[in-house]
Symmetry: D2
Subunit: 271 residues, 4 copies
């Protein structure tokens, strides 16, 4: 079912890897809602993923870009506006990776070259994307930029490792850059803080399945799925949320405002 | 323009007084989006307002109810489900009043009978509405309940007086009841924390015009209007936000996450 | 061991019932640190408690007061300043009670007369105490007012019932009144949000022992005890924290900023 | 006046440059309160500062260390524990620097090499300090680690530039590492978020004097001074706050919980 919420809107969607990706589901929804977009991912991620299938499904083009490279991003924005025929209305940043997690380094035993790399990819890239869009004046007024984040930025989830710190930096960028993008270009910038989601990337985190079960029991409405996140992102890209900016929006079945649920306590007590 | 986001959905909208009311604008939008509803307001407010005009415009019926009276609320919910032909999908609570403000009592010089009355009307009524809906099992699964609030619940705005404390209590009810409504009925409960809005009610607050100008300069996207709030509420009533619950959602052009803006500093410095 | 942190300071301590009370432990510490004070509790609580023993231990007088009665509070403040020989430097508000909890009413099945009573005792009393102190100009400059609260004001703990909403209102009063007390009298007002503590009052909450075990496993430093809270309160009464105001301060071993701990996950997974 | 709050405690104080520095004032206070410590600063900062004068005043030794160098930090911790005669009880991290600010680059026009450098110095250094302390098991149980931060981490202050994002990352490190330091070593980790303070470093920020005046009018108790921060840090190093951890503590005269003050509104309205 389509509402035509994004009819005539143009954008860029970063980070679709496979059908488990939130960005993948979002691309499908945006397409359904009438939006046109360019898909982008890192060259290496594109070789692993099935992004060409998504491009076919959504009638969109793919432009590879290393989101830490200004040159790649400038090329992407130039080509995207050219292909789509005008300035952009929406951008989804769904990019994150910790080398320390991949290499199995504990949070208290970081390799700081890895820390730097993960920070640059997961957080710095968001600033770079916005700086390129801002300098090129590539966004339409009342456009909407969304980055995906996770609550580990605000509270401790021990296995999330240095991604927690990266997401805190990312959320700060949303506020800091959101101010200038709002004042100067009337563009809104927000982050969506999503339930733990069984994406291909998420599965790298230790004990992830157990944690998903825990979050499910803690959340009064259960964990938000990738499709739920796609829907919420549609709402944030649409004209229904024009004055919402600098916010970190929890899409998590209520987890973020729970102290404890009866269901978790029952399991905890062995009942 | 309509997206048909609320086609087939039924609800109750509390608090439409006149065209300046957020509830009034929300009712118009919900109607446009295909939703059906009953309008409710306090008997005394109805005499002052032009709610009949709104009922005509939106093809809806009016049921008077004192939202602090369980009897009135039970009657309202019974009749609304009967008139609308089934359980409810959405409820908007836009009710608030401080007798201390009306009588000009300073925050440090409260009349506690007035304090009690304001608390009961502004905050207690939200619990009562939900308790009646919950006990009567009057909400459909994945229904959505929204109450309007203001940021004075979380930070100090001196002239907001005891409404600040009432709104803090209201937001807590949203979380506390939202847990049970979520777990037991799959219903979401959220508050929208809106920019200062020149409603008829808002104009009772001292120095309100100056404050609106201040908020406008502080907010990167300017103050959210009543229509912006109506649009955001539509998004929260729609199926796009099914897993968003227990949240306090700022619709304020970014004000809530500002420390200071350059525009406010310029005025402050006399530039 | 004493640091003489409160030498020469005068105050009122509300809510000491027996040696399990946080207020009791705080009174002992304040006395050790050189502070003089009057103890106050509700007449009914005083009959049950051993407050006379505490008065003897701390060389202090007891003045009964119903903290919802302006008349009682006015009498208390007049007598306390007379007995202590001058204006006050510190006040501890440790008062809370939910009739709905006592009577076993579920949060979704409140008796609103009980709700009103609990709100008045647990939250309204804090405003009344401050309004009396403010009007009588009974606090010295750089004095410190502390109220005890619990994190259920901000996140859901289902069994905490309507005390959650009362504590949200209490924390809002701390901000709202703290502004005027700061500007007009240079007095600071803060709340301390304490770990679940096995006080006599706390034991009325359903499943309390299990919850204490859960909180202990969630908190990296374990639950804060009543003595820990007394120590923190001393710090907040002392001249070391003169510019800290309007804050809600968590004394909870870190619980408030945890998403999940490894220890809770292990128990959850049955390991 | 001394309370002997830190008698027998040992620590490291980073970042004292001159008498305007918060770290300088903290060192004086810690000395007064009976604590012994090693002073550390970057070799380049030491050439500019008068740290030798401070060392004389506080009877302490100086060990130069680039806080982004693991080698330097390992040497520092080894020598400090040797000089002081045992494990450490407290550490103050007061280190921050943005090359983008120094070079006059606007937030929307960052040089990313500068961004990286500022992030490494201002935020990464805090992780490195703790990783070295943790691996060397150099902290005593119930020790206390404090880093200084600023509210721009949570809300927008446009001229604070990329330091806002760095401070958000720093605060996240406090939580993330604080969990492991708490669980494994019983050490608490907190940040103090201080009023704008006219330090030598702070004066690099554009429009700083005007902003200090604004913050003074917004804060019910006025801006916290460097000495106020030193006092609060003493409280956080003392045994009075043993169970306070993972917190971001505002020492700001109430600024952080203000929406607007009457005094700011009066100036804004030209009254």
């Amino acid at each position: 079912m389509s509402y035509n919420l994004l009819k005539g809107k143009r954008g860029i969607i970063f980070g679709a890897l496979d059908e488990h990706s939130i960005a993948w589901q979002t691309a499908l929804k945006v397409h359904e809602e009438g939006g046109n977009f360019v898909l982008s991912n890192a060259p290496i991620a594109m070789r692993m993923g099935q992004i060409k299938e998504l491009a076919t499904l959504t009638n969109s083009e793919i432009i590879a870009a290393d989101a830490t490279s200004l040159e790649d991003l400038e090329n992407l924005v130039d080509k995207a506006t050219e292909i789509l025929g005008g300035k952009l209305d929406f951008v989804l940043h769904s990019i994150g990776m910790s080398v320390n997690v991949r290499k199995g380094n504990h949070y208290t035993n970081q390799n700081y070259n890895f820390t730097h790399k993960g920070w640059d990819v997961s957080a710095g890239s968001f600033h770079k994307v916005m700086q390129v869009l801002y300098k090129k004046d590539a966004m339409n007024e009342w456009g909407s930029i969304v980055a995906l984040t996770y609550m580990a930025s605000q509270r401790v989830f021990p296995d999330y490792n240095d991604m927690a710190d990266n997401k805190a930096y990312l959320e700060s960028i949303a506020r800091s850059f959101g101010y200038f993008f709002g004042k100067d270009k009337k563009v809104r910038v927000n982050t969506i803080s999503q339930s733990p989601t069984p994406t291909t990337a998420g599965q790298g985190v230790k004990g992830f399945d157990g944690f998903i079960a825990y979050a499910e029991k803690m959340s009064p409405l259960g964990n938000a799925t990738a499709i739920d996140c796609a829907n919420y992102t549609i709402a944030m890209f649409s004209d229904l949320t024009k004055r919402v900016t600098l916010q970190n929006l929890y899409n998590d079945g209520g987890f973020s405002n729970m102290g404890v649920s009866n269901e978790v306590m029952d399991t905890f007590m062995g009942e």
